[in-house]
């Protein structure tokens, strides 16, 4: 058995070498489709992050508030459903963040101009959008506003409202589109490999006639499909990474590449490379 598996692997590799042009075309199709899928995933994950980042509230206090009252408010907010964490921002930290936002090299020092640090201490309330859902943030804001010692709750109004109103629908829509793209990619990969096997139907027929078992005939083709899928997936992964890096050089946006975006093309290539070959060969083995 082990000899046969060794033979199957060698035969799978040899088959790729024998049909170099067909192999190159197949891998190219896999690379193109998986790169599109990968970029779609990277963009989706980053949009999700952006939406999550905007789901922070700034909670400001009355000027007369005491340390104990601040702690009390922290406990109450932390207990609200949908609150992931409450971060205290001191006046100094608020100034540091402000300076970072406007750019420290502008040579502006608000303290020296105004005589004191004008920025108030506050909480940044990080929301867990998975728990609370995008549609219920307004109710939470009202609850926080009603707490004693809270003067105001602020957030990125327009973006927040848009995200609050449409964020969930957008992500659902994006996920649905991603699934459609994934299905198209799977179909294209499986079909490409199926066509590769159709071109081999005469050989498969001959193999059956000389007494090869179904599994003996099938294995090299599955290995062939798997190799093409994995190589295509790896190239797609590298291309996706490279394109994001290139994009970042040209445009001043920060894009994160998640580990899933590195491995998804390889996994899809591996699984559906084999599956496409399996579907293709099954038709001829059953005849």
């Amino acid at each position: 058995m082990s000899l046969n598996i060794l033979y199957s692997f060698g035969e799978g590799v040899r088959a790729l070498k024998r049909a170099r042009l067909a192999t190159a075309i197949t891998i190219s199709i896999i690379v193109v489709t998986l790169t599109i899928l990968d970029l779609f995933l990277i963009v989706g994950l980053n949009i999700r992050e952006i939406i999550d980042l905007k789901m922070n509230l700034g909670v400001f206090f009355d000027t007369t508030i005491t340390h104990d009252e601040i702690e009390n408010i922290r406990k109450k907010i932390s207990d609200f459903n949908g609150v992931e964490k409450v971060v205290f921002i001191s006046k100094e930290e608020a100034l540091r963040r402000f300076m970072k936002d406007i750019g420290e090299d502008l040579g502006i020092d608000p303290v020296s101009i105004l005589g004191s640090n004008p920025l108030p201490k506050h909480f940044v309330v990080v929301l867990n959008t998975k728990e609370i859902g995008y549609g219920k943030t307004e109710a939470l804001v009202k609850k926080i506003r009603s707490l004693k010692g809270v003067e105001d709750v602020v957030y990125h109004n327009r973006v927040f409202e848009a995200v609050d109103k449409y964020g969930k629908d957008f992500l659902i829509g994006y996920a649905a589109t991603f699934i459609v793209v994934l299905l198209i990619v799977i179909f294209l990969i499986a079909n490409t490999l199926r066509l590769t096997i159709i071109s081999q139907r005469r050989n498969i027929q001959i193999m059956k006639l000389v007494g090869a078992t179904r599994s003996f005939i099938r294995r090299p083709y599955l290995i062939q499909g798997m190799i093409q899928g994995v190589v295509g997936g790896m190239i797609a992964s590298i291309l996706g990474f490279g394109m994001v890096k290139l994009f970042q050089k040209v445009f001043p946006y920060s894009i994160n590449i998640h580990i899933i975006a590195v491995f998804l093309p390889i996994a899809v290539g591996f699984i559906f490379g084999m599956l496409g070959s399996q579907i293709g060969i099954k038709r001829f083995l059953n005849r």
């Binding site: 000899l3 046969n4 024998r18 001959i206 007494g211």
Partner: protein
């Protein structure tokens, strides 16, 4: 060894074979002669169990058309080899690989495969072309590769469907001589052909087939 009993075979609405009774014993050379469309290829395909009789029974050694399971068919084909008019060689492989394939498929060890391939290629006088590509060979040489592949697993019977159909007369005689040589070593041969002159050329039992029936 091979026994066809009251075999009828229909392909769709067409009757191909009618009431065929035939037996082939070890070491026989049977020549099935008939015009195109007489049912010769269908008869061989029933022995090779690519097709099954609509009525009647085909028994080949321990394999019975009524009871054989799908996974037993490859085992049958290792002992009942087939050569064809169009050779049916794997054209993306060389001569050695074509012959070796039949042995790989049966799980023979690498060292034994090499030895056996060289042995059968010597039997068909093709040792010098063992690493040639199939496209580089003449028709006669390709048929000899097919015969070498058929012999690799030491079959007890060799089925030959118009094995000289694509060959000139000189090469035809070479292939017939080779088949006779193989037969003399003990392998039974069942050859289908439309060439009636073969009955004079080879000392074989002749079965005449007309419109799906054995006529003599």
């Amino acid at each position: 060894m091979i026994r066809l009993t009251n075999v009828w075979y229909w392909a769709g609405n067409n009757q191909i074979l009618a009431d065929i009774n035939l037996h082939v014993d070890a070491g026989d050379f049977v020549c099935i002669i008939g015009p195109s469309g007489a049912g010769k290829t269908s008869l061989l395909s029933l022995i090779h169990m690519e097709n099954f009789p609509t009525r009647g029974r085909v028994v080949v050694a321990d394999f019975d058309s009524e009871t054989i399971r799908e996974n037993q068919i490859p085992l049958l084909r290792r002992k009942v080899s087939f050569i064809f008019q169009d050779f049916k060689l794997l054209e993306d492989r060389d001569v050695f690989e074509n012959v070796a394939f039949a042995l790989w498929a049966t799980g023979v060890r690498r060292r034994r495969i090499k030895k056996r391939v060289f042995q059968v290629l010597a039997e068909v006088s093709l040792s010098h072309k063992r690493y040639s590509k199939i496209q580089e060979l003449s028709g006669g040489e390709q048929q000899r590769v097919a015969i070498a592949r058929a012999l690799a697993n030491e079959p007890f019977v060799l089925l030959a469907d118009e094995p000289t159909g694509n060959l000139d007369s000189e090469t035809t005689n070479e292939i017939l001589d080779l088949l006779l040589k193989i037969n003399r070593k003990g392998t039974a041969i069942v050859m289908a052909t439309h060439k009636e002159e073969f009955q004079k050329k080879i000392p074989a039992r002749v079965v005449m087939l007309r419109e799906g029936r054995i006529v003599e």
